[in-house]
Amino acid sequence: RKRHLAGLVSKNRQKREVSETGHMAFSKTLLRWRLMGEGYSSQLTVDEQRYIFRLAFRMWSEVSPLDFVEDTSSPLEDIDIRLGFGTGRHLGCNQRFDGTGREFAHAWFLGDIHFDDDEHFTAPNTGSGISLLKVAVHEIGHVLGLPHIYRPGSIMQPSYLPHEAGFEMDWMDRKAIQHLYGGCKGRFNTVFDWIRKERTAYGEVVIRFNTYFMRDDWYWLYENRNNRTRYGDPVALQVGWRGIPTGGVDAYVHVWSRKRDDVYFFKGTQFWKYNQDQDQAFTQDQEGRRYPRRISEGFPGVPSPIDTAFYDRRESRIYFFKNSLVYGFDVGANSLARGFPKRIRDVFPPVVSGDHPDGNVDAAYFSYTHNAVFLLKGTGFWQVVGSRDRWRRPFLPRNGLLPRKEVDTQWFDICNVHPAALRM
């Protein structure tokens, strides 16, 4: 038995390394976990236990570059994190549980998490007992390398606090895990602010917006006031945006003027018009046009596929980006504006020489929060100089691009989860 255990140690040892911060951490981003068959709880169904653990792992995945997948078939030595319930002497562990009260669980550096089945573990939102979800999130934090944190509100507090409705990981906990594993980075297909018009109780029309980031087949709602994504995101694209193509889109454009209020999604050589009232893509609009339509039909002179696009309300133009060129499209004239296409560098010159995306922009995004346009490429972005910037610094070129910054320094914690976790 000791030789077998020693063998497990040697196979697992290379998975950990000292991260750049000097702390121990997993050296890979996809971690496999399993609820051990000999360690089921007697208090919840197996399916409940597995669901809670899936959710716990997903919560960490939502705030870190780590992905977790439940693996019930691989050899045990390939499992990174093993979970189980036990009482007293349990699961070959050298640390006894103490019975009902005080210690409810512990975690070992090789990835084992043990829960004291003498405690009254309950499912989330039950209101009584000890939330298994909360304990699991805490112990997973230890496995990932976090120590106890004494800050009120931290999930890594050593003492258990009774059920809080919908507990989540706050800013400091997120930064703690990102200190070990880094932030979440990646390219986006498109970013946009979705406009909604609502009427107050007094009949007044107010404009509300929400920010969305899209990547491949999923999307996030970004809460600007909270500097994070919505809890529980990402969501599968088809859930929130019915009728738009799978695999992601190239661009989103909202043509919003006195006369028009149209939303378009672009992918490949086609585009879709979105029915804001019905919350799904049109198959046929009020004018009788069927969708998807060819870009060349709806926007003559614009090539396809495009890299990205955005609508400039100041000039009533849609700027389409493709490679190193930008195509200014006059929506009123329904044709390319005079002089286009032009080089992106000429329309959006660099403020600092050499600091420019050049071409192949991933997303062009007008933000109502910042009242500015951003060009995103890779993991970085450039902010377009606005009128307020030029009022303060008149030497800035019109539509100039300010120096590059990392996306995750402006929009935080937009993290992938494993595809298996997309549908809980």
Binding site: G88, G99, F109
Partner: protein
């Protein structure tokens, strides 16, 4: 099966033997603080055994009258031969306990009094994670097992002559390789630090190996 009678299992019972031992006094509080890293565990390398004929020995116990340091961990409150209360803390140890208590009070958001008061007792008895709050420092480790149990070999001088072959220091013991050790009285449920020592009087050397099983569950230690 845990006994219950109601349909919704709301009256499920735990056996009284499965209740965690409460922190009720300074001794159990000290064990708590040691377990979770607020105090250093007993460093067995500091144990000095002197000749049993030493008339200055304060101990009267036959087995332990050659031990001149207070045994903190692993001693059983039911052991008639030795208890921590029998020997009392040294001033340094009392200060260490006070400092550890203050640290615990500080991180727990309690008034930092250095006194084992009711609020501190309540806080210690709250449900908590079994991972220590602070690293437990040890001199060396042998991580040949997958559960992070390591044996620390402590070399001590043992006075010869008065010990018999096979004498076992009478502490609670658990053997890491034997999960069903009946000697484990487990008086400190969940605390687990134990020693297991034997003395072989036939050896010429006055050096004695004491194997000490100390476990820690710091997830960031290899």
């Amino acid at each position: 099966e845990k006994l219950f009678h109601k349909r919704d299992h709301s009256d499920v019972q735990s056996g009284s033997s499965h209740q965690a031992e409460l922190i009720t006094d300074k001794f159990t509080a000290e064990l708590f603080l040691s377990r979770y890293g607020f105090m250093k565990p007993v460093n067995w390398e500091e144990i000095q055994f002197h000749d049993a004929d030493d008339a200055d020995s304060p101990f009267t116990d036959d087995y332990l009258d050659d031990v001149d340091v207070r045994i903190q961990e692993g001693a059983s409150s039911q052991n008639p031969r030795v208890t921590a209360q029998d020997v009392g803390p040294t001033p340094a140890q009392a200060q260490e306990f006070t400092s550890a208590l203050e640290e615990f009070q500080r991180v727990s958001g309690l008034p930092v009094t250095g006194v084992f008061d009711e609020a501190t007792k309540t806080a210690m008895n709250k449900p908590r994670c079994g991972v220590p709050d602070k690293e437990v420092e040890l001199s060396n480790s042998d991580d040949s097992t997958a559960v992070d149990t390591f044996n620390e070999t402590v070399r001590t001088n043992i006075g010869g002559g008065n010990s018999s072959e096979g004498d076992i220091f009478n502490f609670n013991t658990t053997d890491a390789s034997n999960d069903t050790n009946t000697n484990d009285t487990d008086d400190f449920k969940g605390f687990g630090d134990v020693i297991n020592g034997t003395h072989d009087a036939n050896t010429d050397s006055k050096m004695e190996n004491m194997s000490v099983n100390v476990h820690q569950n710091e997830p960031n230690r290899r």
